[in-house]
């Protein structure tokens, strides 16, 4: 029983991080149709930058976090300005490949700058946990993940559904050229999108490496976040918020109960198996929009 409870807690909090990163991914996709496979690399880059500012340069933690997020924003703006322009209208493969290649490039740069050893991140949240009787305990950091994600998601939902920029983002996502025609500043929409997305990725990276340590392999969380986005449906915010924690919980349950049977590794595999099943059964995700394709 305790095992189940601890799986739930850990899965819930990790899943929240997946949702956070997935939001950024989906944002970029919804507005510009670009699939940012480099989301994971940006995530871990944010963590490395935070580490640089706080440990290597000795700056106070809030400042280091702020600077890492600013760096994320600048990176997002830079990517939009110099790379995205050329990607609009290109076939899907070119877009996927560009972001993939870019992530490999980032990987090389990170190896160069910070080496390939696991670095432990400066602790963000106090030690200790809350006990719910004998049933479950939740770490302060896990609690923080959940709360921070919740707040950010609510903020974002309000922004997306109730503001003009949100509507502009939705329109641009549907038909970029028609949006330009209607008088929407498409470049501005893209810039906002990428900036938000990179900030959420960096934030997610800073949070998650607090628990997992800083190493390039953590970038694989990017793929898991993408899986969350796909299972939830690439156009649906609700989908991501719901599916993230669910997938997180499933992942840890699978690790706890199935690992002994298959010899380990289920934690990384479970999201992908679920993804495949969902893609076959409901191709556009549980909450996704169907492609309206008329010939």
């Amino acid at each position: 029983m305790e095992k189940l409870a601890s799986c739930l807690v850990v899965g819930l909090s990790t899943g929240c991080i997946y949702s956070l990163v997935a939001i950024g991914f989906v944002l970029i996709y919804k507005s510009s149709g670009v699939l940012n496979f480099a989301q994971g690399a940006i995530l871990i880059l944010g963590a490395y930058i935070f580490y640089s500012f706080s440990v290597q340069l000795g700056l106070p933690m809030p400042l280091a976090i702020f600077l890492a997020l600013v760096f994320g924003a600048l990176l997002g703006y830079g990517l939009e300005r110099f790379i995205l322009d050329r990607l609009i209208g290109q076939p899907v493969l070119a877009i996927i490949l560009l972001t993939l290649a870019f992530s490999e490039l980032l990987k090389g740069t990170m190896y160069l700058a910070w080496g390939t050893d696991l670095i432990s991140a400066p602790r963000l949240f106090p030690q200790g946990n809350i006990n719910f009787g004998n049933l479950a305990t939740i770490d302060y950091s896990q609690l923080a993940f959940i709360i921070i994600t919740f707040v950010l998601v609510v903020l974002f939902a309000v922004f997306y559904n109730k503001t003009k920029i949100g509507l502009a983002m939705k329109a641009t996502a549907d038909d970029t050229i028609a949006a330009a025609n209607v008088g929407i500043k498409v470049r501005k929409v893209f810039a906002v999108t990428w900036i938000i997305s990179c900030i959420t990725a960096a934030a997610g990276g800073i949070l998650v490496t607090n628990v997992m340590g800083i190493h390039y392999n953590v970038a694989e969380i990017g793929f898991k976040a993408m899986a969350v986005a796909l299972v939830g449906g690439l156009e649906s915010l609700t989908g991501i918020i719901v599916i993230g924690p669910i997938l997180g919980i499933v992942e840890f349950l699978a690790a706890a109960y199935l690992d002994p049977l298959v010899g380990g590794g289920m934690r990384d595999l479970a999201p992908f198996i679920i993804l495949l099943i969902v893609l076959i059964v409901r191709p556009y995700g549980v909450f996704g929009w169907e492609r309206i394709e008329r010939i």
Binding site: A94, I96, L100, A101, E104, G108, D268, L269, F272
Partner: protein, 346 residues
Amino acid sequence: MWRPSGLFHINYRQEIAFIQTPAQWVWLVIGLILAYTLPLFMPMILWDYLIKSWVTIAAVLGLSILTGICGQISLGHTAFMAVGAFVGAILLDHGVPLIPALIAAGLAGGLVGLIFGLPALRIKGFYLAFATLAAFYIIEFALIHYFGGEVGHAVPPTNMFGFNFDSDLRIYYLVVSVTLLLTYCSKNITRSKWGRAFVAIRDHDIAANTLGVNIYFYKLMAFFIGCFYAGVSGLLLSIYMGWASVDHYPLSNCIWYLGMLIVGGMHNISGAYLGVFFILGIEQIGIAMAPVFAEWFPAKAGSMIGTVPILFVGLTLVLFILFEPRGLVHRWEIIKTSFRLFPFSH
């Protein structure tokens, strides 16, 4: 396809022939001779590059059929190579002769590819790419846990009709022969009814469906063929390395292979050749430059050899996608055309 004026096609056979002019016969013969004698001109340290290139060409040819011509994006290609390598290694270990082992490796890769290509019947584009990524992880997991993957299998020395492939040079001949054969098959596929069906599916699969092309069958066949090539290529690589292990087939290679397709030119076979030689060449340059970088950053000298090639290749890929997304083949066509039309520009 450009032909000099005065050369007309008067029947279908002529139109689809590979060699259209006598000059092309000459180039073909020269090319074949060059392919087989290349290692004799090159210093021995480059033989690794040559063998790896030909093996990669075999794999990328498969990807070219699957992704370039049929438009089904596959991010899991190296997993199917690994499948072929393992199956082949196990068979060779049990004394199966080389050619059946190669064919079996291909079939294994193709069948697994077919199974994991089933999602293609319902999804496309990015969703499919991700499904193939999932396939990669699942296959890798299965190989590691059920087939002894991380440690891998030793591949016994192979021979064909008594001709022992025991030196690098001989392995080179094996690899080149197999790849040339596969190239011939690819060209045949693309000029046949299947090739046309693939292109139709790539361009607009729903419209192809309404015109009577059985897109379900052809999509699965594209996966089968593409992964067949991957399986054969995987076994060839393992024969060369002497060892079949999951480490030889990492995820980043999938990215590089797709990159080679784009750099070379996605829509035709020569693109695979150009892309592979070019990208692997850049990687070699990166390896050669690693010591230079190590001097500039002495603190990180140890990791240079692993990271500099990645940086070079990644940068090349990014630049190509930004500035020449149609690849080297396109650029070559433009160069040829500008020479032909000189002094006019178009």
